[in-house]
Structures are given as structure tokens and as C-alpha cells.
Amino acid sequence: MLDILQSSENNYISITVTGDADASSSIKLDKAIRWAFDESLQKIIIDCTHLNYISSAGLGVFMSYIEEINQTNTTFIIYGLSEKVLKVFGILGLDQLLKIVGTKEEALAQINGI
């Protein structure tokens, strides 16, 4: 089960991901991120505080946006990853390509700092 909450704030898009991102539920995640990009605010933060598990399909969703992040000059920040999930990102090397921070405050600071 994966629950996704998407909201449009003043100058950024926020997506909250809760539950397990496996092969079937990753489609929901992909739709939400696609929507965030289509809003063209160029600032997206992903709250993964309650992301319990992520499968390779879920990682594939994040991975598929790397190119678009660079091309559209979007600030894309993931925060709140649990130790376990962060390790999964790390093993694959995604932590080197995506901005991953600890808290929402850090994420917002980065967004507003630019």
C-alpha cells in the first residue's frame, strides 16, 4: 500500500509518500511526480518520512526523472528517508545523483536559498 498526498504551496510542490513503494504502487508515485513536473514550479520536495519500503521499481521512478531534473533546472529534494531506505538509495548510487536531505527545514532552506 502506498498513499500519496500532493499539494501545491506558494512557490513549490510538495509530495508526501507513505507506505510501501513496490512494483504495483510505484505507478502512483510516478503519476504524482509527473504532475509535479507539469506544474512547472521547478521546485519539488518529496517527503519520505513515512516511506517504509522501496523496491527497485520505486527506485526506477526516481531514477527516470534524473535527466528531466537536470534539463529543466528543477530543484528536486527528497527528505526524511529512514536509515533502511536511505541505504537502498545509497547502494544503488542514487544518493549521488539526487538531492537527499534529512528534514523538511533543510529542504525548504535549500529551495529558498537558491
Partner: protein, 688 residues
């Protein structure tokens, strides 16, 4: 002897006996005439001829009892026909005798008492046969669809009738004996009550009813004629009736006549309703056709055609059509009956224009998609229309339009029938589709089994190695096919390449990418590249063919057994578990490295790194896929790195096969009976 005792035998036997009895009776009559003429007393008891008559009745009864069994029980017209034929024969002979007597009137022969006796005996015999055979048939008709109570009543009546055969021994006559009259009254009453059993009439169709009326009418006429010819004396006698001395014959006459008249009346009054009954039968048959059409191997279109035809005939619609929505087509398919395409479009436009629409709730369903619509039409040749939705599992698959040239052409009873038809047809079609899907699934299963075999063949059965190390692999896929990959290659006399990889996702798409990886490995490995170069080139090759959201994790090892060195690069794959015999403990080789296909440009080379290390005797390498490290038990707890590390520490002293077996056994123990939800692969290398 046994073979002789068939109903056929009894039938013939009883007939022969009856015939002999009749001959004896006739002979006796003649003899009595002769004796009275020559005034000689035969010395015979007057009871003997009576006994002969009674026995004759009994055997004729026997005969017909067996004879009637030859006719199928539902075949009422055949029954009546038999009665009619015997009656006709008896009447013709009887009339012929009458004519013969008239023709010889005045001659010496006319007053011959012998001839009189013989002719009387013939007529008497024929009439008895007719009465008894009719009785047998009426019995069959009365007892059609009998109840237990009816059977009891009938048995009492039949028993009484049988006993009445022997009443003639008393010598009483109807006109004089009160007992005779009372007994007769009682039997007539029973006959009257039993005559109310006419269930068989309902099963006659219109044509059969007319035939039955004709046949029964003739039978009634015969009965009247015979009664008159026996008991109504000539005009010169003052009495109304000749002395009636036989209770049996009299009761029989009365009962047979009652039943004939009752049947006649009931059939006549049932004539107008027979078309309704036939209609109901037709509906039942159509319903059965709809439910059985699947078994007969008919296709969807045939089911639709049966539905349209039976619905039209059930509601007396003049024309109709079906709109069927097909998958993969925007335009619905139209199946028409009695209406031209242009006429149909015209009616359709009138339906949408009409303001007089009535929505009728479907009593079988609460959902509004099942509602029917009744439309009043103007300006077309059809004046009313009924629109019935066809739904399979709450999804509309089509609509049925029925139109009538009369306004108000549909009534509520008809609409209920249509509901039943529509839902039955929907069920039939759904079954048909499910059957098709089941067959399709069966085919896919076979294909997947083939894919499984092909994929198994992609994984090596022999792993390249030399005396310096043992290598052992284990793999298991969650589905038929999986995305785990391992392979080996001998690069030189002491140089080996070993690879382990995992494609993102599961199942068929993962399996396809895995086979691509195999192709890339087999091509690139020949070039004898360094581990990082291998990954960079593999990434480039995969960038062009991997799906956008797919990636492959891989660790590539080059083992040199002469230099006792190990070079490896990790591309996002799970860190290798390494047991150092020198340190006596296991650890994970966690170094950086990006998965293949994640960064599909030249920057990739900045994200993979070369690692070199020396190995010693009894060192162990455990390569695995994340199916093992991330395997979870019922509580959602993962098998995890710490557990794997501990197991290796405890078992590093054993050989490669034992280490692998122990590791997988512990994994299964940890997961208990939980189903495999990922692919498991493990390759264990132990240096010697």
C-alpha cells in the same frame, strides 16, 4: 419358458382365452335355443353362461391392460385414436348386422332363432370389447400426473367395477331392485368425481385439442348408439328401457359417458387459452436454448441472435436490433431483425426526440444501469419501443431495442420475461468470454513455461574455475521467469571473470533485460577489460535498450589465481559479503558505484570505481541479490546484512556448497512459510 412371460405373451394369451370364452358362450346360446325348441333340458345351471360372460369381461380387461402399455404415456392422441378405431369397428359391424337383418326381413331366415343368437352374441362381444378398452384408456388419462390420493380413489373405483362384474349372479334387474339402484348410484357418483381429473388436456397443443374433440365426440356418439341398441327397445314396447340386468355394463356406460362429456367441455373451453400455454412453453424452451448455447459450442453472435429472436417473439415485437459494444472498436456492432438500416436510424432519432419516456426498474437488480426504458414514438412506422440494457458484471455491453407498430405495444408481464432473457443471455456471454479467457491463460502459461526453460538455459550450469577456488551458485525465481543473473568466463589460464546482476522489477520484463545483460556480458568479457571499463561499456550498451524506468545492478569481478588478487567494481549492486580468514570475520565491501542505466551519458564513468584486494586461502566471497538481503518474514522484518554476516562467520570453515546451503536454509527458516516475493540468487566462492 421364461422368455414367454412378457407383456406381449400375456396380451395374446388373455385375448385367446377371451375368444374361447366368447365361442363357448355363443355355442351355449345356440344350444339353449336348440334345447328350448326341442323341449329338452340341458341340465345346465343357469349360472354357467353368467360365469362365462363374467370371465369373458375379465380376460378382455386383462388384454387391454397389457395392450395399452405399448403406447407411450404422453401420447394422448394415440390413446384416443385406439378407442376411436375399436369403436368404429364395433359400430360398422353392428350396423352391418342391422342392415343384414333388414335385408332378410320377411324371409324364413329372418325368424331363425339360431341366427339371432349368433348375431346377438357377436354384437354383445364387440360392444363389451369397446367399453372395456375405452375404460382402460380413460383410466390412463385420469391417472396422468396422479397424486397419491387420486390413486387410492381410483383403486377403490376400479375394485368396485371389477366386483360389479359378478353382480349378475344375483339376477337382479335395475328397474326392480332397489339394491341395484343404490349400488349403481354410488358407482356413478364415484365415476362423476373421478371424471374431474383432466390434467392431460393442458398438455395438448391447439391442433391436438381439435383432434381430441373430434375423436371424443365420435366415442360419445358410439356410446350413445350402443346403449340405445342394447337397452332401448323397439317402438312397439311401452317400456322406456329394456330390463337392465348387468350392473357392470351399466356403470361402465355411465362412467365412460361422463368422462367423455367432461373432456369435451374442458377441451372446448381450453381452446382459446391454448395459444398462451404454447407461448409459455416456447419461452421456457427459448430460455433453455439461451442457457445451453454455450455447451453447444455456439459463439457470442449466435447467443445474441437467439436473445433477439426469443425476446421479439416473447413480447410480440415487430422488429428489433442489438447494439453490442466491442472491445477495441468505437462503433457498436448492430444485429438487426425485420428492420432496414435506414429505418433503424430513423427510429433511433425518433427515440432520442421522444418526450414520452418511462423508466422501468429491473426487479432483479438495484443498479440503475439495468433499468429499461419504454418510449412512445411518433412520425415513424413504429409506435412504441422498449430499450433493454445488457450488462455483464455491472458493465453495459450493449442495448436491445424492441419496437412495435402498435402504440402501447408492451406490457409489464412481457417486460419481466425480457429481463429474464437478457440476464440469462448476459450470463451465457460472460461464461463464453470466461471460457475464452481461461483458454488464453492456459496458452500464456505454456508460453511462460517455455520462457522459463529458455531463461534457465541462460544461466550457466558449469561455472569456470580452477583448483585455486570453489564456486557454487543457487537461484530461484518468484515467478516463472526472473531478473537475476550470474555468469563466469575464463579470461586466461589463471584469470576468471565472475559477474552477478539484478534487473529492476520482476517477471517477464525483467527476464528480457536479463537476457540482454547476458548478451552484453558475453560480448564485452571477450575484450578482457578492467572491471570499471566493463561497467562503463555495459552502461553505454544498456542505455540504448533499457526501458526508461529500468536499471540493472551488477558487480563484476576479475580473479587472478596466480597473483592471488581480486579486482572488482560495483554498479549499484548489493555489497559483496567477504570473509577474511586472516581477520577471522566477515564484512561487507561497501564502496561507491552507480547502477547501470541510471545515468545514460558519459558522466557515468565518474560514478564507478575500481577496487583491488589480495585474497588468501579460506577466504570466502558471498555474492547475492537483494531478494536475499531484503527477504521479509511475517512481521515485516528483513533478513538483513547482520544476519548474513553472522551466518557466514559461523560457517566459513565449510566448503562453498555447504555455505550456500546453510545460508539458504537459514533464510527459509527465517521466512517460515511465506511465499517467495522476489528472485533469490547466491554465488559462493571459496579460495583454497
Amino acid at each position: 419358458m421364461k422368455g414367454k412371460l412378457t407383456p406381449r405373451f400375456y396380451m395374446r394369451f388373455s385375448f385367446a382365452i377371451a375368444l374361447l370364452l366368447w365361442l363357448a358362450l355363443t355355442l351355449l346360446d345356440v344350444l339353449q335355443v336348440l334345447a328350448s325348441r326341442s323341449q329338452v333340458d340341458l341340465g345346465l345351471s343357469p349360472l354357467v353362461p353368467l360365469l362365462l360372460i363374467d370371465l369373458f369381461f375379465l380376460f378382455v380387461g386383462f388384454h387391454f391392460r397389457f395392450r395399452i402399455k405399448k403406447i407411450e404415456s404422453g401420447n394422448f392422441i394415440d390413446f384416443l385414436w385406439q378407442v376411436f378405431a375399436i369403436g368404429l369397428l364395433a359400430t360398422l359391424i353392428s350396423l352391418a348386422i342391422g342392415l343384414f337383418k333388414e335385408s332378410i326381413d320377411g324371409s324364413a331366415l329372418a325368424n331363425n332363432p339360431f341366427l339371432d343368437a349368433v348375431l346377438y352374441s357377436i354384437r354383445f362381444g364387440l360392444i363389451s370389447i369397446f367399453l372395456i378398452s375405452t375404460f382402460t384408456v380413460w383410466k390412463k388419462l385420469i391417472l396422468y400426473q396422479k397424486s397419491k390420493r387420486l390413486l387410492i380413489w381410483w383403486n377403490i373405483f376400479e375394485g368396485t367395477i371389477l366386483l360389479s362384474i359378478f353382480y349378475n349372479f344375483t339376477g337382479q334387474v335395475f328397474q326392480e331392485s332397489a339394491v341395484f339402484q343404490v349400488l349403481f348410484g354410488a358407482m356413478a357418483l364415484m365415476g362423476l368425481i373421478l371424471s374431474a381429473n383432466l390434467k392431460w388436456v393442458a398438455y395438448l397443443n391447439f391442433k391436438q385439442k381439435w383432434k381430441s374433440i373430434l375423436l371424443i365426440l365420435l366415442v360419445a356418439i358410439y356410446l350413445g348408439y350402443f346403449f340405445t341398441s342394447i337397452y332401448v327397445p323397439g317402438a312397439d314396447t311401452p317400456d322406456m328401457l329394456a330390463p337392465i340386468d348387468n350392473l357392470f355394463i351399466l356403470s361402465l356406460f355411465v362412467f365412460l359417458l361422463f368422462y367423455s362429456i367432461f373432456s369435451l367441455l374442458v377441451i372446448v373451453f381450453n381452446l382459446p387459452t391454448s395459444s398462451v400455454f404454447e407461448k409459455k412453453m416456447e419461452e421456457a424452451i427459448n430460455f433453455q436454448r439461451l442457457s445451453q448455447s454455450i455447451q453447444q459450442g455456439e459463439n457470442e453472435n449466435q447467443i445474441f441472435d437467439i436473445l433477439l429472436a426469443s425476446s421479439m417473439s416473447a413480447v410480440y415485437a415487430d422488429a428489433g436490433w442489438l447494439e453490442i459494444e466491442r472491445r477495441g472498436s468505437d462503433e457498436p456492432e448492430i444485429r438487426r431483425k425485420n428492420i432496414s438500416p435506414t429505418n433503424r436510424l430513423e427510429v433511433l432519432s425518433q427515440i432520442s426526440l421522444s418526450k414520452q419516456k418511462t423508466v422501468l426498474k429491473n426487479p432483479l437488480s438495484k443498479a440503475s444501469i439495468h433499468d429499461q426504458t419504454l418510449v412512445v414514438l411518433k412520425k415513424t412506422n413504429f409506435k412504441s419501443a422498449l430499450i433493454v440494457p445488457l450488462a455483464i458484471q455491472e458493465e453495459i455491453v450493449g442495448k436491445m431495442y424492441l419496437v412495435n407498430e402498435l402504440s402501447d405495444g408492451f406490457n409489464k408481464e412481457m417486460i419481466n420475461i425480457i429481463n429474464t432473457f437478457a440476464s440469462q443471455a448476459s450470463i451465457s456471454i460472460e461464461n463464453f468470454r470466461l471460457l475464452g479467457e481461461a483458454l488464453e491463460n492456459e496458452r500464456y502459461k505454456k508460453e511462460l513455461n517455455i520462457a522459463k526453460k529458455v531463461q534457465r538455459a541462460l544461466l550457466p550450469t558449469q561455472l569456470d574455475h580452477d583448483d585455486a577456488f570453489q564456486i557454487h551458485a543457487f537461484t530461484q525465481a518468484a515467478a516463472e521467469v526472473g531478473g537475476d543473473y550470474y555468469d563466469t568466463f575464463r579470461l586466461g589460464e589463471h584469470k576468471f571473470a565472475v559477474v552477478i546482476g539484478d534487473v529492476s522489477g520482476k517477471g517477464t520484463s525483467a527476464a528480457f533485460h536479463m537476457s540482454q545483460m547476458k548478451g552484453i556480458f558475453q560480448s564485452l568479457v571477450q575484450l578482457d577489460l578492467s572491471a570499471t571499463e566493463f561497467l562503463v561499456k555495459a552502461n553505454k550498451a544498456l542505455s540504448a535498450c533499457l526501458e526508461k524506468t529500468s536499471f540493472i545492478t551488477l558487480t563484476y569481478f576479475v580473479i587472478d589465481t596466480k597473483k592471488k588478487s581480486l579486482e572488482f567494481s560495483r554498479a549499484g549492486h548489493c555489497p559483496t559479503l567477504y570473509y577474511s580468514s586472516k581477520n577471522g570475520k566477515a564484512e561487507f565491501l561497501e564502496n561507491k558505484g552507480l547502477g547501470l542505466g541510471i545515468l545514460r551519458n558519459d558522466n557515468f564513468k565518474h560514478y564507478v570505481f575500481k577496487n583491488e584486494m589480495a585474497f588468501q586461502k579460506d577466504d570466502v566471497l558471498v555474492l547475492y541479490t537483494d531478494g536475499i538481503s531484503e527477504a521479509a518474514n511475517h512481521d515485516g522484518e528483513e533478513f538483513g546484512y547482520d544476519r548474513m554476516e553472522r551466518i557466514l562467520n559461523e560457517n566459513a570453515k565449510y566448503d562453498a556448497v555447504s555455505i550456500q546451503k546453510m545460508m539458504i536454509q537459514k533464510l527459509y527458516e527465517f521466512c517460515e512459510n511465506k511465499d517467495l516475493d522476489d528472485d533469490y540468487t547466491m554465488v559462493v566462492i571459496k579460495f583454497k
